[in-house]
Symmetry: C2
Subunit: 173 residues, 2 copies
């Protein structure tokens, strides 16, 4: 997979932090989800980052990366779908907000972009109002599509078919 | 769009940080890209996070979220494709590693998962060896696919067709 702007070839200097170096990585909210209904979400971008929005209106879809500020960062395994799947899975094998770094990822349809006021209206956003937004990236066909056959575990298929097993105790471990 | 584990309904308490509150958000590397060739990448997950990998082997594709440690975090607009597209676009409208929060996103095919040793072998990864990895999430068909028609600006189509305009001076602004 290659994109119109792959990071790999954008820099030629060696990595500053070799493996094993536990560097602190800091994010700053670029904005917040200020409203959200079942139909749409409104993100307001902070003034200093509004130029970053220019040109986004040319895309139909955008990835919203937001911060799960209510997440539990100590959880390593969960029972997916709020405890309704019997098996425990690692948090890298599901989309639980409880994970070491709660950067959550949602693909949204763009309804409106207003760089001047920093407003982005989208549909499909599942972030609660008040959630910090840390990045947004345009959806790139080809780059953001899987190559070849796609497969998922049985528990995901089960959930998609609408079958949920009886709830079991113990959501996390 | 709805997922087997949408964050929105996983918590019922109000957001801890209201909009406007400039909370510091901290990430920790969950591992590093330790090798990368054109064919494949090897991610090594730190010991404390290895349980998080369990169950990932049931998926064919994974999103790797990695940290662009060489990125310039002050850049708001770029000329995409290393200066070869004439127009300046906001960094939220392209996939430049230079952006306020350089959490970079690549969809990869899973070749092998070894939770015991913390190793994940993938293809399609465009992170340089040495890059910190901050999260990984399974690819979920339906949830990670756009709904309805997809569109992108002319410059993306141009790049996909292999046409690149003459390089112009001034990559960033």
């Amino acid at each position: 997979m290659s994109s119109p702007d792959t990071p790999s070839c954008a820099h030629t200097s060696p990595p500053r932090h070799p493996p094993g170096d536990d560097v602190p990585l800091r994010l700053t909210p670029i904005g917040w989800v200020v409203e959200r209904t079942d139909e749409e979400g409104l993100v307001k971008v902070r003034e200093r980052y509004r130029k970053c929005l220019e040109g986004l209106e040319g895309f139909s879809h955008v990835w919203i990366l937001w911060w799960g500020h209510e997440a539990d960062r100590t959880v390593t395994r969960v029972r997916p779908v709020h405890g309704e799947v019997p098996e425990l899975v690692g948090v890298f094998a599901c989309r639980s907000p409880d994970r070491p770094n709660p950067v959550l990822l949602t693909l949204c349809r763009i309804l409106e972009v207003r760089p001047n006021s920093g407003e982005l209206r989208v549909s499909g956003l599942d972030a609660r109002a008040g959630s910090p937004v840390v990045d947004m990236k345009p959806y790139l066909p080809g780059y953001d599509e899987p190559d070849g056959e796609v497969s998922v575990p049985e528990w995901v298929e089960m959930v998609k078919r609408g079958h949920r097993p009886p709830r079991t105790r113990g959501h996390r471990r």
